[in-house]
Structures are given as structure tokens and as C-alpha cells.
């Protein structure tokens, strides 16, 4: 091995080397190498040329040309630069994400704008509370333990945000799903413009779902309560349960009691709730999808970085 690369050659050879290096640098520049990379590569090329030329017996332009032919031409250097630095995603991933977004947006719009989709389902319940009438306090106290036999399934709707509410549980689950979906979407950070758009679209979708669910929950519970004081005998005559509950059989039929009638209308936007639930699930899927896409991008970036690192056309000789 020789280290005599710094010899000066004939002006003809020096000119040829200079021209070659200039052209070499121009190609590297077109391929996206920055100045420091160009400097380093060009310096090494020149050093390599000079060393080989110095080692050769005949120091002529012809020898120089033979040396250059054996070396990798500048076009062999990896095509790096802006085009390779762009991130890419798998088309299938893009397609499924877009489909989900379109579907989700469509459902959202349909729920909010198309009246016939807001189908409501109404359950009615009528209950009678019977108790001993207290003339001093005008209170009604349960006559006996059987008072608890009253069908409470609907009275538990009284507090719309309480966990005991059956439809409320659905709503809370919807909100939880939506919240999780939003969180996932926020976590799925990406710098790509169209994915940002997807994120925003999904967020809007989920926010609309939240708003709709909040509106819907207000419509749950309508009740009217009326009280009347009468004798047990009268109450028995009007009682749909035919006197089987609410008061003792041993009571005086002429005792005054209070009959409280509760009329409850439970209106549920049936389809809407299922749809909002469905949309929240879509949101979650979108969130996961975006995260997957992000991971896929990271992997692609790594691959592309590796491609930048290792020239695509590796010469083995």
C-alpha cells in the first residue's frame, strides 16, 4: 500500500482530474448531498485517483482514464435528498383510514341533520305510591314494607347523570369510548398534513357525538307526579294492583291515605344512541388506525433513513 497520493502530475492530467472532480461534485449536488458531504466524498475520490495514479508505472491521461473506469461513477452514488426524505405510508392503510373517516362523518351528519333518523322510543310507566296520610305534616309514609314492591326500574331515572340510570350507563359508556378515541387521536401525533386533517375530522366527529349524546340524555326522563288524598276503600277501588300492596289489609278502610301517582315517560333516542356508540367505536378504531399509521411511518422513515445511509446501488468491485 502506498501513501504517495500528493504527487503533482502533468498539467494535462491535473486539468483532467480537476474537470472530473468538478463534474463529480455537480452530480453529487444534483443528488442532494450537502456541501460537507460533497467535500468529503470529492476529497476521497481525488485522493484515491492521485494515489492510484502515483502507484502506476505510466502517469498519463490514458492511465487516469483506466483508473476512473474502475471507480464507481458519480451516478452510482445513492440518490439521496428531498425525495427520499419524504415519509410514505402504505396505500392500504391510507385507504382504510379515509374510508373510516368518510363513514364516520357521514353517520355524524346523518344523525344531526336527517330528522327521520332521530327515531325515538318511548316507554311509559305508571306507579302508585300509597301511604298513610299525616294530617299535620301532609306527608305520606309507607304503610308497610310492601311499599318497596313498587316497580322502581323507572324511578331510578330521576338523576340523569347518576350511574344507576340504565340508559345513562349507555351514555357513559359512549362518552368513555369517545374520550378514549379522542385521546388516542391526540396521541397519534403526526406532521403529515392529510393525516392532521383526518385527525381534525375525527375529533370534530367525536365532539359532535358528545354534543348529541349530551342533548339526548336531557330527553330521557319526563315525569308528572300527582297526589290525591282518599280513603283506603276508594284507593282500593282505583288501584290497578287491586289493593294487593301499599297498605295493610288490617287497616281501617276509611283511613285517609295519600295516593301519589307518577306518570313517567322515558323517551330514548333509540337508534341515535346505538349510532353514537357505533361512532365512538369508529373513533377508537380511527385512533388506533392513526397510531398504526404513525408507527408504520416511523418504520418507513427508518427504512428510508437506512436507504439514505446505505446507497441503493452497492458496488461490489
Amino acid at each position: 500500500m502506498t501513501t504517495t497520493s500528493n504527487e503533482t502530475f502533468s498539467s494535462e492530467i491535473e486539468t483532467a482530474i480537476s474537470e472530473y472532480i468538478l463534474k463529480f461534485r455537480a452530480v453529487l449536488e444534483r443528488k442532494g448531498y450537502d456541501n460537507s458531504e460533497q467535500d468529503l466524498i470529492v476529497h476521497e475520490i481525488e485522493d484515491s485517483i492521485r494515489t492510484q495514479l502515483a502507484d502506476s508505472k505510466e502517469k498519463s491521461v490514458k492511465t487516469l482514464q483506466a483508473i476512473l473506469e474502475k471507480m464507481d461513477p458519480p451516478t452510482e452514488y445513492s440518490n439521496k435528498g428531498t425525495s427520499l426524505k419524504k415519509t410514505q405510508t402504505r396505500p392500504s392503510s391510507d385507504k382504510s383510514l379515509k374510508t373510516l373517516v368518510v363513514l364516520s362523518l357521514f353517520l355524524s351528519l346523518a344523525l344531526h341533520l336527517v330528522p327521520w333518523l332521530n327515531v325515538t322510543h318511548t316507554n311509559s310507566a305508571k306507579g302508585i305510591l300509597v301511604g298513610k296520610f299525616d294530617p299535620e305534616t301532609h306527608d305520606t309514609k309507607p304503610a308497610n314494607e310492601k311499599f318497596d314492591d313498587f316497580d322502581y326500574s323507572f324511578t331510578k331515572l330521576e338523576t340523569p347523570f347518576g350511574l344507576e340510570i340504565k340508559p345513562g350507563q349507555i351514555t357513559f359508556a359512549t362518552l368513555a369510548f369517545g374520550l378514549a378515541a379522542s385521546l388516542l387521536i391526540v396521541l397519534a401525533k403526526t406532521e403529515r398534513s392529510y393525516l392532521l386533517l383526518i385527525q381534525k375530522g375525527s375529533c370534530v366527529c367525536i365532539l359532535l357525538t358528545f354534543a348529541w349524546a349530551f342533548f339526548a340524555i336531557q330527553q330521557f326522563d319526563k315525569k308528572s307526579i300527582s297526589s290525591d288524598t282518599s280513603t283506603i276503600k276508594e284507593a282500593q277501588a282505583n288501584d290497578p294492583y287491586k289493593g294487593s300492596r301499599g297498605y295493610s289489609n288490617e287497616a281501617n278502610p276509611l283511613d285517609l291515605i295519600t295516593i301519589t301517582t307518577i306518570n313517567r315517560e322515558n323517551t330514548r333516542p333509540h337508534l341515535g344512541f346505538y349510532a353514537s356508540f357505533f361512532m365512538a367505536i369508529i373513533g377508537s378504531v380511527l385512533g388506533f388506525g392513526l397510531r398504526s399509521a404513525q408507527k408504520s411511518d416511523e418504520n418507513s422513515s427508518r427504512v428510508l433513513a437506512a436507504e439514505e445511509h446505505y446507497p441503493s446501488e452497492t458496488s461490489t468491485g
Binding site: M1, T3, S5, N6, E7, T8, Y33, S36, E37, L40, I41, H43, E44, I45, E46, D47, S48, R50, T51, Q52, M71, D72, E76, Y77, S78, K80, A306, E308, H309, Y310, P311, E313, T314, S315, T316, G317
Partner: protein, 110 residues
Amino acid sequence: MYEVWTTQLVKGLAELALLHVLKQGETYGYEVMQKLSKYECLAFGESTIYPLFAKLVAGDFISVRTKPSNSGPPRRYYRLTKLGELRLREMDAHWGEVIKSFEQLKESKI
């Protein structure tokens, strides 16, 4: 097809090979090419090795200094940095795992 596969295979090894050469001591580009050319499967072209030098310098895995010469332009000498040594150890370890896995795969009858 076979050539494509062999090219792709050695492509990933260029950096490891270069770091191993630099581990032996400070050296310059052409000398690295000469050393690698002694190994048939590691005889990379300039278009592979020289851009790698640039990348490794940019990543602080190798340092460069120029030595003035009596005539002509100065020559650049490269040396492995601490970070480069660490990277080499990691790459060696991973390469060892790859070899080991392949041996296990070949011996496996599943």
C-alpha cells in the same frame, strides 16, 4: 436475482465493515478501500464507502483530521470515536444474534 440478493445482503454490512477497519486504527479513505478489497464479499465500491464516511462523521461516530503533506492537497485521516466504538459493539452484538438465529433455524427440523 441472486446478485440482487447478495448486493442487498452486503449493503447492510458496509457500515459494520468500515467501523471494523477503523477500529484497527486511524486510516484514510483509499486505505480503507484497499483493506476491504482483500475480502471478496466485502469489496465495496467508492459509492458505498465514501458516503458512509460522511454519514459517520456527521453522526460523530468517527472523527476526521487532515495531515498536511509536502506536496498536493492534505489527506484526511479517520478515527473511531467513543460513540463509534459503542455503535460498533452494538452492531457486533446484533450481528452475532443474527448469525446465531440463523444457525438455530438451519438446525431446526420444524
